[in-house]
């Protein structure tokens, strides 16, 4: 087939401008309501459970997971399913271990939970290092992805795409804070879920709504191997390691955790995770249908001809199903998807820089509302500028591993300290700080020494560490550091502080 992909598409641009106009309109409205830090970081804690469920889904489902998984399924069949499942299974963990205690113990960032029972200054600095590492790698991956995608989808130059994404995201966060970010994420989630459902419906329509008939068609065209595990998982240790990072990393992503502060109470936070889990699971089931649909209706050759990685499978499928109009709609949805994710990331980075570092550490919590808001906005501008610069600096680089790296750091640096702070009375400040630093440093070191960097990127003959995914070493390591240090040098006053907080953990602030 010949595709109009890559040429400027009037429908895509119209849908895109419509989305920008709508979201900027919401930003203007949100900016009038954003008067305090409570509004800027936490949307006035007035988001409902259903809204937050959608916003969580919008914050989490990245263009990489939409276009990437559909592409992976289209090219390798079953193996794509392994990823879809990996992106979902962290949500029950967030629900069981983190969401409610986090809401009850903190105000704006997950570091609040640690700081509530341990020594403010060292804990916030250590947590900020892990958070900023996660946010930076995640942002780089999103910005580079955005540049490539938009070039393919709209025919815009890479640099222009990166600057547009950075500037629009800056407008949302700078003026509208969490209120605008929340609504952008809700709209994006509705568009993405609606678009994917419509597309999957159109695919299944050809198979009288029987997905098995679709899979059978795929296996009769490309062989039964598309329904069986293939080359994606070869090394069992690496597979488990990746799984651990995806599962536990979700529960350590600063921009996801921050969303739990936007609701009224722990109960609402709980219900919102329920909605998010339902939406995200449904979405990943859909990507599976979309991937097979693209394999059958578009064909593998046509997909790899446009993009060797298969990332254009879903947009091409939209074109086959509904012509240039539908392609334009899906392209605009992919753009909206990127904007919603980078806005959430930037806001959580701003919260780390201003709330955790400037206000709590540097100013010893003696900053008035006005100063806090100014600092938060300055931090937002810095982060947006940084993300544009990094997005352009990493042009043409293979950054696919960076999302995995972000999850690995989140799982190794943030998750162990956070979960121990919630569960374990004996955790000490030193234990938690060393655990977070160990998690960050060991993950970065192991990734640097891994085949991903040494062989694939630096083109060396071999790598010092055979693992591509470090989680299986770094996650237990940071748990061990936290526990050993806390047990070897116990601090009685910190254990007593935990006992004092235990009531708040369940009941909330009274």
């Amino acid at each position: 087939m010949t595709s109009i992909l890559g040429a400027p598409n009037a429908v895509a641009i119209a849908f895109f401008l419509l989305f920008i106009a709508l979201s900027l309109g919401i930003t203007v409205w949100a900016s009038r309501k954003t008067r305090t830090t409570e509004h800027f970081y936490a949307a006035g804690r007035s988001v409902t459970a259903f809204q937050n469920g959608l916003a969580l889904a919008g914050d989490y489902m990245s263009a990489a997971s939409f276009l990437g998984i559909a592409g992976l399924v289209a090219l390798s069949g079953f193996d794509g399913l392994i990823y879809s499942i990996g992106w979902l299974v962290g949500w029950p963990i967030v629900m069981f271990l983190i969401a409610e205690p986090l809401r009850n113990l903190g105000r704006f960032t997950f570091a609040d939970v640690l700081a509530a029972r341990l020594a403010q200054t060292p804990i916030r600095i250590a947590a900020a290092i892990g958070s900023l590492a996660v946010i930076s790698f995640y942002l780089i991956a999103q910005m580079v992805g955005a540049g490539n995608l938009i070039r393919l989808l709209f025919g815009l130059p890479y640099e222009a795409a990166v600057v547009i994404v950075g500037a629009v995201m800056l407008a949302y966060v700078l003026f509208g804070g969490m209120i605008a970010t929340t609504w952008v994420q809700i709209i994006k989630a509705v568009l993405l879920l609606g678009g994917a459902t419509l597309m999957a419906g159109l695919v299944l329509l050809q198979f009288s709504f029987n997905p098995l008939a679709l899979f059978e068609k795929a296996s009769s065209t490309y062989g039964a191997s598309v329904l069986a595990p293939g080359r994606q998982v070869t090394d069992p240790i690496d597979a488990v390691s990746l799984g651990l990072a995806l599962m536990l990393g979700t529960a350590g992503l600063p921009h996801i955790l921050m969303r739990f502060y936007t609701v009224r109470d722990a109960r609402t936070a709980r219900t919102s995770v329920g909605y998010a889990t339902a939406c995200i699971g449904f979405f990943y089931l859909l990507t599976f249908v979309l991937g097979f649909g693209a394999m059958v209706s578009v064909g593998r050759e046509a997909i790899t001809k446009i993009d060797a990685g298969g990332n254009m499978a879903a947009p091409l499928l939209a074109e086959v199903l509904g012509g240039p109009g539908f392609l334009g709609f899906i392209a605009a949805v992919a753009f909206a998807t990127i904007l919603a994710v980078v806005a959430g990331l930037t806001l959580s980075g701003a919260a780390t820089l201003s709330h955790d570092l400037w206000v709590s550490v540097w100013r010893g919590a003696h900053a008035d509302e006005r100063e806090q808001l100014v600092v938060a906005r300055v931090a937002t501008v810095l982060l947006a500028a940084l993300s544009i610069v990094l997005g352009i600096a990493f042009k043409g680089q293979n950054v696919a591993y960076m999302v995995g790296l972000a999850f690995a750091i989140a799982a190794s640096a943030n998750f162990p300290a956070l979960v121990l702070a919630i569960f374990w009375p004996r955790l000490t400040t030193t234990g938690a700080c060393l655990s977070m630093l160990t998690g960050t440093v060991s993950t970065l070191t192991l990734i640097w020494l891994s085949p991903t960097i040494q062989i694939d990127i630096l083109k060396h003959a071999d790598a010092l560490v055979p693992l591509r995914n470090p989680g299986i070493i770094t996650i237990p390591l940071s748990f061990a550091v936290a526990i050993l240090v806390s047990v070897l040098r116990p601090v009685a006053s910190e254990a007593r502080r935990f006992a004092e907080l235990e009531r708040q953990l369940h009941v909330g602030v009274e």
Partner: protein
Amino acid sequence: MTPTPAPTDTTHALEAVSAARWRVAISLTIAMMVAYFGFILLVAFNKPLLGSILVPGLSLGMLLGALVIVAAWVLTWIYVRWANTHYDASVDRLRQ
């Protein structure tokens, strides 16, 4: 009917709520991990088994994969139900 509880009773009640909360949280977390890593290990160690076709168009691996997603839903639902009925009631009693 119920007299104002003495401080020890409150502490006791709090400990009971904590213990129940963590028991449920840990059990469900382990269940999710077993389901997910069980699937991953099968993918890693027994590819032919997962490739076996159950009915035309459906392999065992695809069925199990979809079941892991369903398991995530069901476990989440179990937690929400437990929390809405038991945990919330205990927390409300703590509040009084």
